[in-house]
Subunit: 201 residues, 3 copies
């Protein structure tokens, strides 16, 4: 239940980040809604398609759709004030990152995939929505350029399997994994950690 | 049979619109063909992948491939005259919009998805081909910016379920739904209806 | 075994071409790795998703992941010297083209798809990785503009079915098909063959 609630928060935060990006591109309301939707469900959809889980997640549980619609209206109504809300938005987004990575890891384990593949699935679940958002807005995906975003998901995945190997019980495992992801992200932004671009000079 | 024929018209119209877009980007003939193909089958392919219907539609019925090839050659041969044919092209495209929405709705119902999801599937089937065309041509998808295109599919989906709730028989249901979509699109273009961009000012 | 080894070479060559493209876009190391990964497995992944083979290929055989990681480190370490290695890179890439087309053709035949669809699958397997690489780097896919790349895969597919109709035994069939693709690509580059853009003038 707690898990589900946080998933809902993450979905909404991702939807809101989609709305803000699309508004900056001067899209019409429908375009903005689609971008919000894709940002929120893109990662889980790619994961489900790749592992053959169909119909994909958001088609089975309508709550995701409702949450995205709510996030859309919230973001549109408060769009002029959202710059001031950027901190809380960032906070939700970070929670989403932790939870979505965890969900991706779990889905991979459910069908007995190798840990390395599970980590890839977790990272995809957390990051692909943002990638699609940026492609649809005709930009190089931000996660490939600026922030150590996906790298944190990979780190979280490694922590997850390390703890699992130590027989940490499930509840604690979930809390610690998402805790590591969330804490690292917060620190990465506070201390401006980033990976330098690979140049050829 | 009539339904199938119109589907063929819609597929060809979408293929032709792909050819015209790609030629404007100075692509070579192969690139133009791929864009035509993707514009025509992209929506149905995404739908089939998301609901787990595989192999996807155009792999099972070769007629789609032949129709696209025919559309490709027609558009390439008559490319210098197609500006004058723009009206008839627009007409086919609009028929395609109505029929493809309907097909998406039906596929969703077949596997007992919720009406809201069916409407999303119908809209995707009708619109995603054009979205992919624009992404491959490195543009922000036109449906997110200029026209009320996808919004009409959503409207059509709502009409469909409203009529279904009123126990309208299938044949009439199909004709009315696609009729509403086609008529609304025609009016939208004639009267220049559009959604204003969501700005932050 | 020989087949598998060449597949590995092709995968690595594609990964390396991804690394070089991404470095030119000034991406950070994670971005570069993702582009390498997508370039190498993108084609096979699309193929598997479209024919409903899940989990997709690289999730079942971890060797692909290891080969890509190796290719990534090789390319990053030797990135300043790779311009001089361009010829050998081009050679691997061409081998990859031949082998990947063949693999796509075979997967289509395995599930009894029509030859035309098999040729499309082979072409996708060989080309879609590069298309995704270019989209993620925000460019019009190079195969739609400059080189006769995909056209060679289609040619190779036709040769494959022609030879198959003549009851050429499997081993010879594979060698001849990939040989035709590799030889044509080499000649295309040496003699600067290309398709002219389709203009409207």
């Amino acid at each position: 239940m707690f898990f589900y609630l946080i998933d809902v928060f993450g979905t909404m935060a991702f939807a809101i980040s989609g709305v803000l990006t699309a508004i900056n591109k001067k899209m019409d309301p429908f375009g903005v809604f689609v971008i919000a939707f894709v940002t929120a469900v893109g990662g889980g959809t790619l994961r489900d398609v790749l592992i053959g889980r169909s119909p994909v997640g958001w088609m089975r549980d309508l709550n995701y759709v409702y949450v995205i619609i709510a996030g859309f209206f919230l973001a549109v109504i408060f769009r002029k004030k959202l710059d001031k809300l950027r901190t809380s938005l960032f906070f939700f987004d970070t929670i989403g990152l932790g939870v979505f990575t965890l969900i991706g890891l779990e889905k991979g384990l459910e069908i007995n995939l190798h840990p390395v593949i599970c980590v890839a699935l977790g990272t995809m679940t957390a990051c692909f929505g943002g990638v699609t958002r940026d492609i649809l807005c005709n930009e190089i995906p931000v996660i490939f350029r600026k922030e150590i975003y996906a790298t944190i998901c990979i780190l979280g995945g490694c922590v997850f399997f390390l703890l699992k190997a130590l027989h940490v019980p499930d509840g604690l495992l979930y809390i610690l994994t998402s805790g590591v992801i969330i804490a690292t992200r917060l620190m990465a932004v506070v201390f401006k950690w980033s990976l330098p671009p690979l140049s050829r000079d």
